[in-house]
Amino acid sequence: MNFVLNDALAGLAGGALIGLAAAILLLGNGRIAGISGILGALVNTSLPATWRENLLFVAGLAVAPVAYAAMVAPPDINITTSVPLLIAGGLLVGFGSRLGSGCTSGHGVCGMSRLSPRSIVSTLTFMAVAIAVVAAMSAVMA
């Protein structure tokens, strides 16, 4: 995949929309748009009082790309990871994001934008580990 100027502009615009979505949830409901937190609360052993809004947020997140695909263009979703590693990856992402109280949205976008020390440390950590994993996988396959 080659990076071109259009990708940078689309990235900025899409990123601004992600920021806007998080801003809507914060300024409206006073809540952090952390996807792992919202999902985690839905599969927790006890459902919180906010389960309806959590479910609606998740529904919007899942349905919007379908509408976008129908009206504009369907996105590429290209996964090259083998099935065992795909499942391992899902388990690690789910468990790790809950253990570390956040993922790319909660820590990466919502926390870093308010200069939370925990979120900055978390984001630097998961970025560094993910970069190392990709490098290691390339080395093994080469």
Partner: protein
């Protein structure tokens, strides 16, 4: 009203993930592949756009005691860096690097990504449930 706000936020978030192409794991792994010779910086632009808008939102809350709808705002961020934070981030990063999917883009790809995304989501939810069970008994 809270429900409508949450739905709208989810919809806008989903559009943002498609427009930025962060719904595509190949694009995300292109950013993480620093040493592969064809680095894709798109994710940095996405973070730049998102952080700028969200920083303005935090600024708007700084002089308010509650949200625009009157709900309580999140408290001041804690500065506690502990093993749980670091360990969780490392485990999360391991999975993120393996696949190129994190929770938001996974859910955004629920109806478009076919069985690989469905399997990833199932495993991710299982991981979250496992944490809930361990956390409760710990």
């Amino acid at each position: 009203m809270r429900n409508i706000v949450a739905l709208v936020s989810g919809l806008v978030f989903g559009v943002g993930l498609v427009v930025s192409d962060m719904i595509n794991p190949a694009r995300v792994r292109g950013f993480l592949d620093l040493f592969g010779g064809a680095w894709d910086p798109t994710l940095a632009f996405v973070m730049g756009g998102a952080l700028t808008v969200m920083a303005l939102a935090w600024l708007m809350t700084s002089r308010r005691s509650g949200s625009l709808l009157g709900y309580s705002l999140p408290g001041k961020p804690s500065g506690t860096i502990d093993g749980r934070l670091l360990g969780g981030a490392a485990v999360f990063g391991l999975g993120w690097g393996l696949v190129g999917l994190c929770p938001g883009p996974a859910i955004a790809g629920l109806f478009l990504g076919g069985w690989p995304v469905l399997m990833f989501i199932a495993a991710m939810l299982a991981g979250m449930m496992a944490f809930s069970l361990i956390n409760r008994t710990a």
